[in-house]
Amino acid sequence: MEATSLPAASTAPPSPIWRELLGNYGLPWAVILGIVGYIVGHWVGVRITVDVQAQVETDQNDVAIFLGMIFAIFGWLGGLGFFSYPISRMLGRPPSHSEREDHGPWRYLRLCTDHKVVGIQYLVAVIFFFFVAGFNAMMIRSELTSANATLVNAGNYLTLVGLHGTMMLMMMSAGVLGPLGNYLVPLMIGSRRMAFPRIEALTLWLTVLAGFILLSAILLGGFPTGWTGYAPLADQARGGIDAYLVSFFLIGLALILVGTNVLTTVITMRAPGMTWNRIPIFVWGLAATSVLAVLAAPVLAAAIIMVGLDRTVDTSFFQAPEGGSPFLWDNLFWFFGHPEVYILALPGFGIVLEILPVFARKPLWGYRLAVAGMSGVALMSFMVWQHHLFVSGINANLRPFYMFTTELISIPTGVIFLNGMGTLWRARIRYTVPMLFALSFFFNFLIGGLSGVFLSDVPSDVTTHGSYFVMAHFHYTIMGGLVFALMGGVYYWVPKMTGWKLNEALGKLHFWTMFVFFNLTFFPLFAAGLLGMPRRVTNYNASLHTLNVFVSIMAFCLGASMLIFLVNLVWSLVFKREPAGANPWESKGLEWMVPSPPPVHNFDSIPVIAGLPYTYGMPDAPAVASLGPPRVAVPEGGAA
């Protein structure tokens, strides 16, 4: 039987497009009601502040903007149908809206509680916003080809920088947790669903909304603070910063919710036989990430509310002349900000350690050590945040302590390398595209991590803080680490999610161009920082001109390599659609034992887990789980 992309289609006649778009809750109504909500909220805000001097003088009404956005959030959620279930239950009526639709491409534009649909929606959203942020990066590099003259005017340049940074960070925080986490965690632990399916859908739609609200900053005058939103400047900024604050708040909320969801699922919904030391390392990585998300994001949310209050009702949390302190924002933000970067990095570790055994054909070496390493990183990430503030005027007694804790965190981080090295020892490596990305992770993250050791040493940090050295460091760890791992994960799991293969040749071209140009773009930036170039500037020393032009050209090539990825996705998934089968990579993971894509209910009967999914080289080991007899006939290549 020919493998199709979607489970059995409905037998009803297809509705006309306009009815599908507007006759049901979904994205079109969300957009419409969101805009209506903004208009209503803005009007209410203007009415209630009609004689507040500051709002009138500045010609931008922050109260109105915030109220407008809050109403817009409710409009958006209402348009998607999030209120229909609670309201009908409160009224004692049976729920009218079928959320677990199992057919039709239109469900991707709606509230769907099938975790697999949410995973794919997340993947599309993350990739879309990744390209938006990446485009902003291309514009930044265009501006930096000249040391003085400006292509983009100086005020708009800061908005560019802020949009690039904020959008990347917002999207990549849930970049693995959202798409791959939601899709794969139930499949990997033998469950039919996540613990809170409706909240799962909520986090997706809040993330998409946050992305659009951030983009709306363009219409509100832009924002000058970059992604770190430093407070006295944030208090002073135009209306665009309100968009930044609301969108980052929504992401914080989404992080808390997705973390809670993943943790609860992993703790309570594991299949029988899945003890704690049989959980796949990818799931461990996401669990550690979730702990960080749940504990750190609330601090960000609180800090954002404080800036919002400063801007609307004239509080002085961060205003020194009135008794507040800019150091408060510094600390609140970085208390969140440091765990945030581990929220970004840990899923990358999980993906790489999950992929490596499959293509090295060896078990994961040092599984318990890997788990300990990830847990150690998660725990210690709360104890290092002052290293962002070494020269800020913090109490000088603290500096040696934070230097020590920051250096200490490199121990659990380094453990990942030992796992990789052990897994590759006397392996039988297959150089598929996912494996190439997983291997390049080690190369990139090593450079990123070692540069972090330089930054953790205070004397060295004095020159490199706030310079392009830091930029190079975090691009190596986050882009070289997380994004490369995410690419590997996408190439690895998309055949499972869609049932179609991604083109291997295009994938290899994408990998090699991305890897080469990534390194050529960011390695010179270490030098730029050491030679005195601060971050977020359009104006730099003329002696650095050649270096910047070179980096910009390499960055354009890197952008082109990402376009190859886009072409691969569109070509393979929209046009070519070559069937992948249940287990194209010959993996021993549980998710590969079900058809591609999995049926709506994931497993016909809940599997019984027999061990870790890394039994390569053990011909007598049983399969990772026994799936029981299938209820319906499955296509060839399905459950073993």
Partner: protein, 216 residues
């Protein structure tokens, strides 16, 4: 198949249109540049500062305006002057005083003779409390504080461009323009009403209280 091509194509067109809108309508927008009037080997710039711009949909902020070569007031802060020339700047100042945040900037710097003429009086330092705006080019060391009109003066200007019949102070000064390049200039009085510390909004937007001098 045809449907997929159509769908992919229309998504691509929408995205490209969005990108173009972003670039042309936001990123690459900048105030127009006006050239100083050249006469007898010298350049002349005539500027005015207004307390509220008064033309919706633009915000109603304080702003600088400049007179172009045809004698029209243009809402811009980008000026073109020739290199190595004596540039004489005349500013008609219509706004009331806010006072300087850093009183040091009351010192006139970088002008010919280190002085500026305020309503006919030649001064080298302006009382910082009288300052309404400044014209400062940090990279060239040029700074002239501009005094405000009296708060109780009758006939104050309400919308740009302001005519000479309304209350104003007149300031003139000259400086030698340097070699070719682009030099940023700004106002140093925190005159952005309603913004925290008076430094937001117009103080951070090209075309209002910040600008560039393009020396060619």
């Amino acid at each position: 198949m045809a449907r997929r091509v159509a769908l992919t194509g229309s998504v691509a067109i929408v995205l490209i249109a969005a990108v173009l809108f972003y670039l042309l309508d936001f990123l690459f927008t900048a105030p127009p540049a006006i050239s100083a009037v050249i006469s007898g080997g010298e350049a002349h710039l005539t500027l005015q500062t207004v307390p509220s711009y008064g033309h919706a949909p633009d915000p109603d902020w304080v702003s600088y305006l400049a007179k172009d070569q045809d004698g029209h007031w243009v809402h811009t802060t980008i000026y073109k002057v020739p290199a190595h020339t004596l540039v004489t700047v005349t500013v008609y100042q219509y706004d009331t005083a806010t006072g300087l945040r850093n009183p040091f900037l009351g010192q006139v710097r970088g002008t010919v003779g280190g002085v500026a003429t305020y309503n006919g009086k030649v001064l080298s330092v302006l009382d910082p409390n009288d300052a309404s705006h400044t014209f400062t080019v940090p990279d060239l060391g040029i700074s002239v504080a501009l005094p405000g009109v009296n708060n109780n003066a009758p006939n104050q200007c309400s919308a740009a461009p302001c005519p000479l019949s309304e209350a104003h102070t007149t300031i003139t000064f000259s400086f030698m323009s340097p070699g070719p390049g682009t030099y940023r200039w700004q106002c140093f009085v925190p005159c952005a009403a309603g913004f925290y510390l008076g430094n937001g909004g117009p103080m951070q937007t090209l075309g209002w209280m910040d600008g560039e001098i393009e020396v060619t």
